[in-house]
Amino acid sequence: MATSHIYARRRLKNIIAMVLSVLATGVGLLFLAWILWETLSQGISALKPQLFTRITAYREEGGLANAMVGSLILNSLGILIATPIGVMAGTWLSEYSLRSRLGPVIRFLNDILLSAPSIVLGLFAYTIIVLPMKWATNGDITFSGFAGGIALALIALPVIVRTTDEMLRLVPSTLREAALSLGVPQWKLTVQILIRSARSGIVTGVLLALARISGETAPLLFTAFGNNFMTFNPLDKMPSLPQVIYEYTKDPSPDINTLAWAGAFVLTMFVLLLSLTARFAFSRSKVSND
């Protein structure tokens, strides 16, 4: 009798644990659904054509055209700066750092940079770009799209470094040995064989980095700053979608809040489509993104 009592208690404990685990998953999915549903429903009802044609200077009567263009420019700048540097750094980690003690250290620090607070990286960009430009031009140029691009590049860099490193290490070493035994110099091997065969994985990394920086707000507040007019000049103050959403959410006017929801809808759709594309279009190569 005693054994069946113990058995029943163990089974009860197991059932409770299983139920709690299913509940925890339910809670996670519930919040995902809740956030997405609010963004979709509030955002779609706020969508109108002038969102894409008018600038923020018109306030309630305006749209977000300049913010979208600004985001496009800032993200392009960030990716264009971070991609070559990140791919080269990742290549060094994977191909050249084997005999170097520096390799593991940089790989380790890159993982830390990956989750470092973006607002501090924004302050770094402020110190090295905004302040010197202000002194050099006697205050004509302060905040600029260029500084925003540098801040975003600092955030994209570790993502690209890590995926490049991981993808290159997946390339079978027989490929390296075959090429080297034919007398191919290492730089040619790296550029023409290794990077080419890891290309889809590296592109995935760049797309994930783009998805990551597209939603960044904090580092742009004091680098690109924002602008109510359309600008294509990277030395000018530049608006961006997340920064306008931030300002419009703080605004007391409900009409402006509605515009913020419309912006949130556009931004969320863009970021989610991008990360889904990165995950599934290139799912042959698995990428971790923690």
Partner: protein
């Protein structure tokens, strides 16, 4: 390249030697270029620390160690202390961990042991989708949707049961017998949703996907042999997870938790709206407060002089704390990598 012509060496040999020399030089140059790019990672981290320390030197110099212990944040009189934002940052992050760790564990348990295999892919993709949503969206949702929800349903219930100023007027049995508990649940505005607890809950939702995906990944590294042995001896699923899987993956699980903590400490936009941005020191989690990141985001644009320097000093503190937390996280996670023999 124009070596003296040696009649015994054929021109083909000479060309080959020249090519080899050129390749060797190109290889060296290529290696240097790559290495200098890799060093930029180092420069980014050191630069972030150095630039905030340099920017904050004025505040550190003016207030000394008192900067860390003072609860003043008074731009009118130009007096600044880090205590309130630091406490706000730490407490919101701890609340987030208390909520997120059990839920993430449940999700990881569900995805590795309970769910049928056809369900695992879609559910884990859905949870990871949470990580892809920009933090500003969490902030908006928190301000417009979640804070009113907390004000309507969560906060009145908590105050009725745990505070000495309950909205329904009846002081609960618990508060009558354990009076100090009321300190942590008092609020001047029972129907105002923003506050430390709300911010912690929003942060919890944000870090769940990070912690649960680390836990899921490390649970999968447990050798099937070990688990099957336990099952063969008659263990239940829960006993396998609690007695086999968790001890085997302990350090990596702690690493995952610290990774989530690092995220929660540095998060800006999700808490900037729901924390309230007030600078009064209070132990109550239902009162408004401020965090380091939200203070910087709110004030840096208009700050001048000593205030700007104090904000930079705050950023330096944040960077040092998150660096240490992430360092521990990565060290813990690396131990698992070694165990696997990668």
């Amino acid at each position: 390249m124009h070596a003296s012509v040696n009649p015994t060496v054929s021109p083909a040999r000479q060309a080959e030697a020249a090519r080899n020399a050129r390749d060797a030089r190109n290889d060296r140059v290529f290696g240097w270029v790559l290495k200098s790019c890799a060093l930029l990672v180092l420069v980014a981290l050191l630069g972030a620390a150095a630039s905030t320390l340099w920017g904050g030197s004025d505040a550190f110099g003016t207030f000394g160690w008192g900067f860390l212990t003072s609860d003043a944040w008074d731009p009118g009189n130009d007096r600044y202390g880090a205590l309130v934002p630091v406490m706000g940052t730490v407490i919101t992050a701890l609340i987030a961990l208390i909520i997120a760790v059990p839920i993430s564990f449940g999700i990881a348990l569900f995805l590795t042991e309970i769910a049928p295999s056809w369900l695992r892919g879609p559910v884990s993709s859905a949870i990871e989708l949470l990580a892809g949503i920009p933090s500003i969206i969490y902030g908006m949702w928190g301000l417009f949707i979640f804070a009113p929800f907390v004000a309507a349903h969560v906060k009145p219930w908590l105050m009725n049961n745990f505070s000495d100023t309950p909205p329904d007027g009846q002081i609960s049995w618990l508060v009558q017998h354990v009076p100090w508990i009321a300190k942590f649940f008092s609020s001047e505005y029972p129907f105002f949703g923003a506050g430390v607890l709300t911010a912690g809950m929003v942060l919890a939702i944000m870090i769940i996907p990070f912690i649960s995906s680390v836990m899921r990944e490390v649970f999968q590294t447990v050798p099937t042999r070990l688990k099957e042995s336990a099952y063969a001896l008659g263990s239940s699923t829960w006993e396998v997870v609690w007695d086999i899987v968790l001890p085997y993956t302990r350090s990596a699980v702690i690493g995952g938790v610290f990774l989530g903590l690092g995220r929660a400490l540095g998060e800006t936009m999700a808490v900037a709206f729901v924390l309230g941005n007030t600078f009064k020191f209070t132990p109550s989690i239902l009162e408004t407060g401020s965090s380091i990141a939200s203070t910087i985001a709110n004030q840096f644009g208009e700050a001048e002089g000593l205030q700007k320097s104090a904000l930079m000093a705050l950023a330096f503190l944040l960077f040092v704390v998150t660096f240490i937390v992430l360092l521990i996280a990565r060290l813990m996670l690396r131990q698992l990598g070694n165990k696997e023999g990668r």
